[in-house]
Amino acid sequence: MPDHGHVLAAGHDDRPGRFGPYGGRYVPEALIAALDELDREYTAARQDPAFQAELTHLLTTYTGRPTPVTEAARFGEQAAHGARILLKREDLNHTGSHKINNVLGQALLTKRIGKQRVIAETGAGQHGVATATAAALMGLDCVIYMGEEDTRRQALNVARMELLGATVVPVKTGSRTLKDAINEALRDWVTNVATTNYVFGTVAGPHPFPTLVRDLQRIIGVEAREQVLELTGKLPDAVAACVGGGSNAIGIFHAFIDDADVALYGFEAGGDGVSTGRHAATITAGTPGVLHGARSYLLQDEMGQTIESHSISAGLDYPGVGPEHSWLKDIGRATYEPVDDADAMEAFRLLCRTEGIIPAIESSHALAGARRLGERLGPDATILVNLSGRGDKDVDTAAKWFGIMDESGEVAP
C-alpha cells in the first residue's frame, strides 16, 4: 500500500513518516525505542495474513463492518439544495463511531508486541470509549487521559469508560482539553514505556501514528467507494468529512485520492467564527510548526506557543491536525473550510428531523459542509458525507443549545 497515490508523488519526502515537509518525529529520545518498535511490528503485521485475518474477523463480527451507505433524500431535498447526499454510516459501528476501526488494530498490535497496558487520550470520549472497549475485549489494562473540561462536557462517556473497566484520569493542566490530555498521555508513556503501548486516537503525533492510524481507517473510504459505485454507477462529485485531528477524514479521503474528479473537503471547527479567534480551524487559520511530535499546521502565536482552541464539539477541539492533511492542503488535493458552531448545530437539527438520525456534533460539521457544497454544486451533484459518529454522547450539549434543557440539565418549561 503506497503512502500516497500517483498525484501526490511530486515533492514527497522519502523519509519515513514524512508528508512533504510535514510529519516526522519530534519527541524525547526516551520514546524513540518504543516508536521504532511500533513501526517495526506494524510493518510486519500489515504483511502478516494471520494478523490481517484476525483484524478482519473482529471488524466483521464485533464492529459490524461493512457499515452501510444511506441515501439521505429528505436531507438532500430540504437542506442541501437538492443535491444527492449519501451518508457513510460510521455511526453504526460498535461504540458509535469510526474510532473502533483504529483501536482494534492497535490493540492487536499491543498484544503482538507483548505489552499488557494501554493508554489513550480522548476529547469527546469516542476514542476513549473505543480503547476501553478493545482493552476489555482483549484483557488489557487501560488508562484514559481526558481534559477536565471534557470530562464535564462528556460525563456519559466517562461513565461508559469506567463501566468498561478503564481508569479515566481528568487532566487539570493547560486548557484542560484534548491537547493537554495528549501531553499527559505522552508523559505516562515516557514513564511506563516498557509495559505500555500508547493507542493514539488520530492521524497526528509522531511517526508511525499518522500512517498507522490512516491505514486502519482507510477501510471507510475503500468500502464507501465500492458502495457508491454500486448505488449510483459513478464516483461521487465530492467527499465531505469533519476534521479535528483528521482520522475519519483521511480514512474516507484516502481511497479517492487518485480519483482526480472527486473533490475532497475537510470541514474544521469554526467555533464562534474564525474572525473571533475562538475556533479550532487549524488548517484555515494556523501556521506550520511542531506539536505533539509532528510538524503540521497548528494554532500558535508568534512565539510558537500553542493557542487554545474552542469548539462546541469536544472531539474537534484540538489546535493541531494530522500532517497528511497539511500536505493535502498545500498541494491542493483537498480543500479545508471552517464551519462554525451555529451552522454545525443547524445541520445537526436538520438531520435529526429529516432522516431520524442523531449525528455526533463532530459529524454535523461535515453535514453543514455538505449543505454548502449542495448550494455550490447544485441538484445534479452527489456528495458523500462521512457520518463519523452518532450523537448519543452529545444529546446533553444539543438539548441545551436548542433550549430543550436548561444549564442545570432540567427540561425547560
Binding site: E29, I32, A33, G174, R187, V290, Q300, G304, Q305, T306
Partner: protein, 264 residues
C-alpha cells in the same frame, strides 16, 4: 566561559560540575535573573535557562506550574535572551533548555545568532533528537553554540553513538524513564547509561532528572562529569513567601548540592 572550560575546571578540582535549571520569567524576568545569579554565586558551575513553553511534555507538574506562570506573565523569547545575557555576564556558562517549536518559530538561524550575541553557550533540546530536523545543528555550528542532545535508558547503542556524535559541549543523560521532578531515588539505570555513553565519546556526560539532595548529587558525581538539578530549584521558588525568600532558598540549595558534588 564555555561549558567545556567549566567541565575542565571541575575535573581539575577532582569533582563533577553542578548544573542548575530555572525557567526564564518566573517569578518575573528580573526575578529569574536574580535567582540564577544567586545560584551561580552559591556554587553552580553551569546554568540552564528554561524557555517557557505551553506544552512541556517531558516536564512534571513543578516545572509546568512555573512555566505556565511565566507565560501568563507575558514572558517572550526576547526575555529569555535577556536573562541569558544577564547571567552570562557573571562569567558562568548559560545554556538554554528549550522545546523545539519556539526555536523553530523564531527561526533556527536567527535564534542561534541572537543567543550567541547574548553570550549564551548552547541549547539543550529535550524533544529534538539529532536526526529529527536538519536546521538546528548547522545553525548552532555557525555560531559556535553547544548542541546538547539527550540519551535515555531506552537508547540503543547505535542511537547513543549517533547522538553523542552530534553533541557539542556535553551529553545530557536522563537518569530514569520519566519526566522532570524530584525523586527518592535517581535510578539504577543512570550509572549504566553513563558508562554506555562514555564508551562512544570524550565529551563530558551530565546526569539529570530527579536530583534534589546533596546525597543524590554525591552519588551521581561518583560516575558522571556533571549533575543537573532543576525541579528542586523551581520548587524552592514556588514555595517561597516572596521573591527575595525564593532567591535565598535557591542559593541555599545550590550551596548544599555544590557540597554534594565535592564529596564523591
Amino acid at each position: 566561559m564555555s561549558t567545556t572550560v567549566a567541565f575542565e575546571k571541575a575535573r581539575a578540582e577532582g569533582r563533577s560540575a553542578l548544573v542548575g535549571y530555572l525557567p526564564a520569567g518566573y517569578p518575573s524576568v528580573d526575578g529569574s535573573i536574580a535567582a540564577l545569579t544567586a545560584m551561580i554565586e552559591a556554587g553552580v558551575d553551569i546554568v540552564e535557562v528554561g524557555l517557557p513553553y505551553s506544552d512541556p511534555l517531558i516536564d512534571g507538574p513543578v516545572i509546568q506550574a512555573a512555566v505556565d506562570a511565566a507565560l501568563r506573565a507575558g514572558t517572550t523569547t526576547k526575555d529569555v535572551l535577556r536573562v541569558v545575557e544577564a547571567v552570562a555576564a557573571t562569567g558562568a556558562p548559560a545554556v538554554v533548555m528549550s522545546y523545539w517549536n519556539p526555536l523553530d518559530r523564531y527561526g533556527a538561524a536567527a535564534f542561534a545568532r541572537d543567543l550567541a550575541a547574548a553570550g549564551g553557550s548552547g541549547v539543550i533540546t529535550p524533544d529534538l533528537t539529532p536526526d529529527a530536523d536538519d536546521s538546528w545543528i548547522p545553525a548552532a555550528r555557525e555560531h559556535g553554540l553547544d548542541t546538547v542532545f539527550l540519551v535515555a535508558p531506552s537508547s540503543t547503542p547505535e542511537r547513543i553513538a549517533m547522538t553523542t556524535a552530534a553533541c557539542r559541549g556535553f551529553v545530557y543523560a536522563t537518569s530514569v524513564m520519566g519526566v522532570t521532578g524530584t525523586r527518592e531515588q535517581v535510578g539504577d539505570a543512570a550509572a549504566g547509561l553513563v558508562e554506555r555513553t562514555k564508551a562512544t565519546t570524550e565529551l563530558p556526560v551530565a546526569v539529570g532528572l530527579g536530583v534534589s539532595t546533596a546525597a543524590q548529587a554525591a552519588e551521581i558525581a561518583a560516575y558522571a562529569d556533571g549533575v543537573v538539578a532543576g525541579s528542586a530549584f523551581v520548587r524552592r521558588l514556588l514555595d517561597a513567601a516572596d521573591p527575595a525568600a525564593g532567591v535565598a532558598a535557591v542559593a541555599e540549595l545550590a550551596a548544599d548540592l555544590a557540597g554534594g558534588v565535592r564529596t564523591r
